[in-house]
Amino acid sequence: MKVQGERTFAAPRATVWSVLQDPAQMAELMPHVESFDVQDDRRWKANVKIPLGLGSLRMSIKFEKTEEREPEFSRLNAKGTGVGALMNLDTQFNLSEADSGTAMAWEADVRIAGPVGSMGQRVLQPIVNQQVQQVLTALDARVAKAAGGPTKGAEEGLSPLEEESYTAEQ
């Protein structure tokens, strides 16, 4: 399942970059992180509780930066395992200077397997879309905090459906 989008932050590129490169800050973007452990500046682990509505799915996720070109490009891989579920996430983003601040073009390829996967795409696709939106909204807040002021997006409390440009496909 591929999801991608673009958004702009009212913050300098260096600020956005610093947030996206800091495992500790990244961790706080994720839903319900229960524990967190940085191995080195490229690899870290997190135990998260992903809400699936009827219940939540505990996963231990290994993150690894697979590529980075400061200050504009970074690629990240995340492998998650949990009871009855496997997740593989490949995500990358491009940062560019924009008049209002920093523009980020991002894409993510999320794959979920195991019994949870058998719940069907009709269920998982919307769930993934929503989780991605929450991460992005949290990212807004993070960047704003780092930049010492709210971003446009966070200010208006962007709801998933109002996201500037956002597409999902299988």
Partner: protein, 828 residues
């Protein structure tokens, strides 16, 4: 000569007292029913043993991956966990399963659990045994397995491409088997043709009959004798023993197979020997009985699927008058990750090479490849269904392109009744049949005479009406010699089945069968045959429920599969009963002072003198004399046991390996189905509004049971044609792993189903009967045919897939040109 019985308005009901003497051909009530309607049947999960462990398999979440680490320690720490089994132990204690394919396809290594590598989602990796079902599942969740994902191979049309990843390092190009079949003189046929119809690609999809009872076993190990008792629902113990003995390195008598009631099989329960070996190892390791009951999700993700098959570059030479001369195609068959009954599917289709038609010139290039999907195995209509669907698609596409009437082109090309027995281009001998008459019956069932009125009526309601025909040949009683056509080194041929019939000390007639019925009513039909021969009532005959290889009533090919019981099973029953009747007459003649057995006859449970019916000896006395009072018998009669075993062996011959030529089965029952659909042009949603199924399986031992098989088989193919499909995503995850997404027909989905039959007795079988029950595949053709007809006014799309859910029909409506590109006609 054949007789027609139109479909009864109401199904035939049966009352015991109405049963007349002469039970063959009568609807005797089923002996199986009473226990089953009371919930007193014994299915495998109903078997319990003291201290029994429940087993849960840890299965692969990856389609293709290397196993880098397995840690069961946390599972073993859990209270109530008895133990585990992993691939390394299996590899150490067993040999890989015997492979039917010749090298290099046959070089792959297949074990009871994944060894070092997983090749499909759901493949068993670790088995965990615990005190309860729940605990076993809990412990399975504690097993840690690390995987290194590998490139997956999912597209059968690309599997053999150079550079594609390999599933099995020993198998180049993922090619399990390749062979050419060339019958008649195809090039001459092509030269003679007035028109040549070419079809780029036809696709037969993956599905299975998904028996409602999943696979399972309760296995016990006797340390003293080194023998396993395997209570299971495996439907072909003869084959399972052949696979398991060498793997476990034990003789066959160490593997005792027991089953009573089996909740449907349809071929899908033939290949459980893999899990059964894991059970045997666990039972021995833990020294306790172990229960494995497959979950539905596991059955869909990791049990036998029907073979997926693609037909490429199809070429059909046709005469101006619509006479079909032959066909040429390249077939690619996808058998999934392992070969467990394959590559037999690469030859089984050839039993019906020309389908129902007088095609004399056939050229087929056949390749079977492996992919990272669930292993395939026999599925009702095994391998013939795919091929027969292909022949029917050809007929309808040719008819559409050459604007020939679908009924007329069939009648013109059907093999005729007066040509029977008919030898096909590859040497198979169709024993009997009248396909044209079956078609006429089918047309009556769906009211074909008024089809154009119905079409107008549907159009007035905004619906597109379509009419379609499908046919199958249900070839039965395999000649296992056909296996040598895929692997000349194999030492298999012929077929056999066993029955024993005894007259016991109290006059009880007891029958044991070598078969493993899953709803086919063997107890009932066997009793009918015995009753007729011994002149008693079926009620007087006890047929032991189920199968037990310890009863000494099984042979190398014992089991219930491939449409053969009416021939092999009942042939054995008849043979054994004839022997018994002879022995009873010998006793009777001696006791009643007759000079020869010709002077006595059997009647109403007595053997009596023909010249003086008063002089009669009850069967009970015969049983008592032989078993408990034999000193009264003259010496020469003391060898009589009244316990008769008979092995039926069909008159098969060795096929010609070089030419891939010979008769591959003994009987060829015929089914013609017709259906009428109404399509909503706005959505592609369609409904089957009329459905007729005609079956000709020769002499019917019990018409009601035959009709039940016809209805059930039709329902399965209607399900397969509409919503049932095993689809995978790009990572090899099955998208339909349960009955929620794998939609099988329920009572509201089923169309009005009408049946009729004609009887063309087989000249080659003991009772004139033919194996039957697998003919449902006709429905897949009939539905595809009807949909193509319904859409003819919407851009003449070609229906090229056997799976036609609503969205595919909508695509055809939306973009007919795309499907039209598959077809071209060359006018000479």
């Amino acid at each position: 000569m054949s007789e027609t019985t139109a479909a009864p308005d109401k199904p035939i009901t049966v009352e015991e007292q109405e049963v007349a003497p002469g039970f063959i051909g009568v609807n005797v009530p089923r002996k199986e029913d009473r226990r089953l309607v009371q919930g007193e049947g014994v299915f495998v999960d109903d078997v319990k043993r003291h201290g029994m462990a429940y087993v849960h398999f840890v299965r692969s979440p990856y389609a293709h991956a290397a196993i880098t680490r397995i840690d069961v320690s946390r599972a073993l720490e859990l209270d109530g966990v008895y133990g585990t089994l992993i691939g390394e132990e299996v590899a150490a204690e067993t040999d890989p399963f015997f492979q039917i394919a010749p090298p290099p396809g046959g070089d792959l290594k297949d074990y009871a659990l994944a060894v070092g590598r997983v090749r499909h989602v759901g493949e068993p990796v670790v088995a965990v045994a615990a005190a309860t079902r729940e605990l076993a599942r809990d412990a399975a969740d504690l097993v840690e397995v690390d995987y290194e994902p590998l490139e997956t191979v999912l597209d059968p049309e690309k599997a053999a491409d150079p550079g594609t990843a390999l599933l099995h390092d020993e198998v180049p190009r993922n090619t399990i088997w390749h062979g050419n079949f060339d019958y008649g003189d195809y090039d001459a046929a092509l030269a003679e043709a007035d028109k040549v119809v070419r079809i780029k690609r036809l696709h037969f999809h993956r599905f299975s009959s998904t028996p409602l009872e999943t696979s399972g076993a309760v296995v016990e190990y006797n340390r003293g004798t080194g023998q396993w008792t395997i209570h299971s629902n495996n439907q072909f113990p003869g084959f399972a023993i052949i696979m398991m003995g060498p793997a476990l390195k034990v003789g066959m008598d160490k593997l005792r197979f027991v089953s009573q009631d089996i909740g449907g099989g349809f071929g899908n329960k033939i290949c459980t020997h893999v899990q059964l070996v894991a059970m045997c190892l666990l039972a021995r390791k833990l020294n306790r009985a172990v229960n494995w009951t497959e979950w539905r999700t596991d059955q869909h993700t990791a049990n036998s699927h029907g073979n997926e098959r693609v037909f490429l570059d199809v070429e059909v030479p046709v005469k101006a008058d619509g006479t079909l001369l032959g066909f040429k195609t390249r077939m690619i068959d996808d058998c999934g990750a392992y070969t467990r009954y394959e590559p037999l599917g690469c030859i089984i289709w050839a039993q019906v090479t020309p389908g129902c038609y007088r095609w004399r010139h056939v050229r087929v290039d056949f390749t079977q490849v492996c992919t990272n999907k669930s292993p395939c195995g026999p599925n009702r209509g095994y391998s013939r269904m795919q091929h027969l669907w292909f022949t029917e698609r050809i007929i309808d596409i040719v008819a559409r392109e050459l604007e020939l009437d679908p009924v007329e082109i069939r009648k013109r090309n059907y093999i005729r009744a007066d040509e029977m027995p008919y030898e096909t281009p590859n040497g198979c001998v169709y024993d009997s049949g009248d396909y044209a008459r079956c078609l006429d019956e089918a047309l009556k069932l769906v009211g074909y005479e008024s089809i154009e009125e119905k079409r107008r009526d549907a159009e007035s309601r905004g619906k597109l009406l379509g009419f379609g025909i499908g046919s199958t040949l249900d070839s039965g009683t395999n000649n296992f010699g056909q296996s040598t056509l895929v692997n000349p080194e194999l030492q298999f041929s012929g077929n056999n089945e066993v029955a024993t019939v005894k007259l016991d000390i109290f006059g009880e007639i007891v029958v044991t069968l070598g078969t493993t019925p899953q709803g086919q009513s063997h107890e009932t039909t066997a009793a009918q045959v015995v009753a007729d021969i011994l002149h008693v009532s079926p009620g007087d005959v006890t047929v032991r429920a189920g199968h037990d290889s310890y009863w000494n009533s099984h042979a190398g090919f014992s089991g219930t599969y491939a449409s053969q019981f009416a021939v092999t099973g009942l042939g054995a029953v008849k043979g054994a009963t004839d022997k018994l009747a002879g022995e009873i007459k010998q006793i009777g003649a001696a006791v009643l002072g007759a000079d020869s057995t010709d002077e006595v006859e059997l009647e109403g449970g007595f053997v009596r003198r023909k010249d003086n019916p008063e002089a009669a000896l009850p069967f009970m006395a015969c049983g008592a004399i032989v078993n408990a009072n034999n000193a009264v018998l003259p010496l020469e009669l003391r060898e009589i046991t009244l316990n008769c075993r008979y092995v039926y062996v069909p008159p098969h011959q060795l096929p010609d390996k070089e030419r891939k030529y010979g008769n591959l089965t003994l009987t060829y029952a015929n089914q013609i189905h017709a259906c009428v659909v109404e399509v909503d042009p706005e959505t592609g949603v369609y409904e089957i509004v009329d459905y007729g199924a005609v079956d000709d399986c020769g002499t019917r031992i019990n018409p009601q049971i035959v009709e039940g098989q016809v209805q059930g088989a039709a329902a399965q193919s209607i399900g397969a044609a509409t919503h049932e499909t095993f689809l995978y995503d790009e990572d090899g995850n099955l998208l339909t792993p349960n009955f929620y997404d794998y939609h099988v027909p329920h009572a509201l989905d089923m169309p009005p189903l009408r049946t009729a039959s004609i009887e063309s007795p087989s000249p080659f079988t003991p009772l004139g009967a033919k194996g039957m029950g697998e003919g449902g595949g006709a429905g897949l053709s009939a539905v595809a045919s009807a949909l193509q007809d319904a859409l003819r006014g919407s851009g003449k799309p070609i229906v090229s897939d056997s799976s036609n859910p609503y969205h595919r029909v909508w695509e055809l409506l939306r973009n007919p040109e795309q499907s039209r590109e598959l077809v071209e006609v060359e006018n000479r």
